[in-house]
Structures are given as C-alpha cells and as structure tokens.
Symmetry: C2
Subunit: 309 residues, 2 copies
C-alpha cells in the first residue's frame, strides 16, 4: 500500500462563468465539486496506475463530510482523521471567454494539539502497512511548521521511503529531516536554495538533506539529483493544456516506480510521461491514459552528472 | 405570525481578499457564512422589530443542513421544506483594497414536481396561522414561472395579505394574480412596465394587477401607488454604506406596518427608515437600530397624487 498525506485536504469547487467581471455579479452556469488537495490527486493517479492506496490527513465539518462522500466511490482507501473545524474549500472560477481560471483558497481548519496527536497515532499505524509515503501540500492553521520534519523522521524510523512535496519553511525544515525524495517546482527550489539555476539548485537542495531532489520544471520536464547520478528527463514534445495537477502526477509516477523497485531513469520516465498526460486532462488527479502510454516511449532521460554517493 | 417565503434560499459565503486579481490565485484571509436569500433577510429584520416570524422555502444537501444550523439560533421559526438537491451557495469576494464586492451565485437545486407539491401543502398550512406573507427572490430550477402567481392566489384565498418581491417573468405573472403589494426596484419596474419614469411606472404596474406598488429607488427612497393615494417617501439625508439588503428591509418595514394596521404614510416611513439604517449595517438582514430610530423622525412622506380607488 502507498500512503498519501494531505494535512490540508480540500473540497474543490469549480464555477463556470461567461466572463469574469471584477466587482460584478456572476451567475455560475456550471458548478462542480471534487475531492481536493495534492495528496488526494496523487492517490487518484496511483490508483489509476493499479496501486493500492490510502489517503490520510484531516477532514471536518460539513465540507469534510462532502469530501468523504466524494472519496467513497473512488478506488482509494480513505483514512482521514476527524477535526472539529471545517475542511477548507477551494474555488476555481473558470472564465468561458478566455478559458482562464481565478482561484480562491480558504485557509483550512485550525488543528488543535489533541487532533494533531490523534493524527500522529493514525499515521504511525498506517506506516506499518505502507510501502511508501507521500507528504503533500500546505499545513493547516495550528499545525507546527516542523510537522513534516516529524512525519519524515517517523517514516524513516519505520523504514518506509518518504517523498515530501511542500514549500516554504515546512519544506526547509522537512528537508533537514532527510526525506528520500523531494519534488520542488522551480519556485520552491529557488525559495529553498536561493538559486534560480536549476542544476545548481537541485544539487544544493540535496546537500541540505534530501537523499534525492527532483525539480519539476514545467514544460522543461524534470531534473533529478540523486545518489546514483544526475538526470534530466524531457517530455517528447511540448503539450498545451491545464498544468494543474501535473506536479502531483509526477509525484505519483516517482512513488509508484520507487515502490516497484525501478531505477531512477525509469522513475523519471514515468513521472515525466504522467505529468505531460495530466496537462492534457481537464482536472488535477486525472491524466490522458492513451497519451501516457504514448509518452512513455518518447521521454528522453539524459545523464548530466555523476552521483554524489 | 408573518410568513416569509424564500424558494431559492442560500448559504451566503463571504471571502475577504487583499485585492482581486483576475486570473490570479487568492488566499481568503477571512471566511464567513450566513443564512441567505431575500425572505431570510426580511425575516431577520421582522424579528428584530419584534414580530413573530416563520421562514419557509426549500433546503437540501450539505449546504441546506448548514443553512438550517445557521438559522437555528436566530429568533425566527424555520419551516424549510426538504429538497433532494443542494441549497445554493452565493459567494461575495470582498476586495480590501477597494472595498468592492465581486459576487458569484449558484443557480440552486432542481425542484422536482413532488417536492413542489410538498411545498404547497406546507405553505397552505403555514398560511392558516399567518397575518401576512412575503414572497421573495428568484425561483430555483424546476419551479414553474407561474409559481408566485399560484402562491399569491392561495394567500388571497386564505385572506392573508401578500407582498411579492421578485423580478422578470415570475413578477409579471405574479402581478396578474393581484398581490396586495409589490416592491420592485427601478430596474424591476422598468422590466415590468417598459418605463424608466418612476411615477408613470408605479401607476402602470398597479394597473397590471397589484393593489399597491412600492418602487424602491435607492437613495431617492420609495414611491408608492396605492388605492389610498400616491406618495413619495424620502430619507432624511443621503447615507453611504452597503446597499445590499436595503430592499429586503423595506419589505420588512412595509409588511410589519401592514400587519400592525398602520396607514400608508406610516408604512412608507418605517420602510424608508429601515432601508437607510440597513445601508449603514455591514450585512443584509441587519440594520443600525439607533440610526433607524433617528431616521423614523426624519423621513418625509409627500403625497404626489390621488388614489385610484
């Protein structure tokens, strides 16, 4: 089983509007709700790849109940921990005129110390049955900034490979706890290392503690600094579409291939193909299965440096 | 008891954002939820005026459950009829930089024929104990365009004075059923009569069937065409603030004064003072009680024409 952790899971709402008019009144012509949060997206992709997958994190309030209802029919096991506050909503307003999206994100429920303690107990229990774990996304209010570092240490103590995908100070602290993999995007890499030169940045991030650093560079693919070598993985051709969720699919690709015992070039090929196939799909957590199979044969993985042991 | 009907009740959500950036990503710094819909606002104001008040309409789904929870502590009786679909949300995004609001409204749940029949049964039962009824706002999907006309006829058959506050074709049909009062704003009056000249428009609207027409003209106050005369009611001085809900407060003023047996000048004085005091309050369904008492003494009611019998 692969475990994904989404501490700040969300009810993702999408409104279609004819055109966004600042300070105007809009009638939503379409309203859609989906289970959201990075770890939830990762789990959906893992399940589509045939992996047994469990989702944990927090859920609470009426929005948390809807989140659980929406997860129930999906092929993932839901092990969210109750919280008194309400699960946050995210709202994407899609403008039919331009196709552009305006996003509004709620901060999430305040997590009390006893709720955090209950989560740790659940997490330790789930780790016992996990082949790998992904820690994904932002922290809800009330969860201490070193939370991911703690979760990384617990996974490593349990002998479970751990991937961390977050940003800012939680990422900085988490990296120091020596996760097996981190997957920052260019912005997160720059925030962590101060460098906007990708090769320098992934190497620097690795020196800070992560065993492997996989930078996701949008249309330029992935750049990985690992103990076995440094590789660049490029998609076969540029794809146009909705990049939301591409990073989550890359995480699912890396983690599934790691769990299957594949080597780094194979992991990066799968992650790159999945990310590109996700850009072609309408929503995060989904990918174009036909394009994925096709892209698998077209991804180029090039060694750009030796491993650092 | 005064009954208010809100067929398309809502869960009103407000997000505070630092500044609205079209096609940007916004973190909501504040999130608030309130029970919403015009009839709900009217009921809150009626309750604040000391009237026994019952709210009906539809509620369903997780948002309907939250709506009921939010109504429970208020001094109004909740008699919403269950519906399988989910109560709509409305979202107001308040831009701290400008103070302006960008509004997104969901369409509301589709009401099935058996749900409409259940509502009619509940409505007839509630009418038996009502001293007056207000029919407020838009129709949810599935409810026929002549629904308000039917509800007006049932109220009149039961001998209960009925006020209709809606727009478009439901207003046009409803007027033909001869409600005691309609309270269109300038836009709704123009839509109904084709005239943007208020005095001509309120008289024309009255000829179409309403026993009395009270046009709400924003900062210009109210203009009423009734069987007893035609009056203009002007607030003591212009007020600056949030006009949302001012029309609902005017409805509450008209209806409460009608239920108390007051004459038209007294009804218009109360409605105008309440509407002005609502502009000073931060949210619909609320008014500045001190300002209301003060404004009561300052509203000017001028007769501008004779009654039409």
């Amino acid at each position: 089983m692969i475990l994904t952790v989404t501490l700040n899971a969300a009810l993702d709402i999408t409104y279609d509007v004819p055109a966004l008019v600042p300070h105007g009144v809009h009638r939503a012509t379409g309203v859609r709700e989906r289970p959201g949060g990075k770890g939830v997206n990762v789990a959906r992709v893992l399940a589509a790849l045939g992996h047994d997958c469990t989702v944990t994190g927090f859920a609470g309030g009426p929005t948390g109940a809807v989140l659980r209802e929406l997860l129930a029919p999906l092929p993932v096991r839901e092990a969210l921990v109750p919280v008194a506050g309400a699960t946050r909503r995210t709202l994407a307003v899609v403008d039919a005129a331009s196709g552009d999206t305006t996003q509004f994100n709620e901060p999430g429920p305040a997590v009390a110390p006893d709720e955090w303690a209950a989560f740790l107990t659940a997490y330790d229990g789930l780790l016992a049955g996990a082949g790998a774990v992904a820690l994904c996304g932002s922290l809800p209010p009330g969860v201490h900034v070193g939370a991911y570092a703690d979760l990384v240490r617990r996974a490593r103590a349990a002998g479970v490979p751990v991937l961390l995908d977050t940003s800012g100070e939680p990422l900085r602290r988490g990296v120091a706890a020596r996760p097996d993999v981190i997957k920052p995007n260019a912005e997160e890499l720059a925030g962590l290392t101060g460098s906007r030169e990708p090769l320098r940045a992934v190497r620097d991030a690795r020196r800070r503690g992560a065993h492997a650093v996989v930078g996701s560079l949008g249309p330029d693919g992935l750049l990985a600094a690992t103990a076995d070598g440094v590789w660049r993985a490029a998609p076969p051709s540029p794809v146009r579409g909705n990049p939301t969720g591409a990073g989550d699919s890359a995480v699912a690709g890396l983690l599934s291939a790691l769990a299957e015992g594949l080597d780094w070039p194979a992991r990066l090929t799968r992650a790159t193909a999945l990310a590109s196939a996700t850009v072609l799909a309408p929503a995060a957590g989904e990918f174009d299965a036909g394009a994925y199979e096709e892209f698998l044969g077209g991804v180029t993985v090039t060694e750009v440096g030796a491993g650092a042991g």
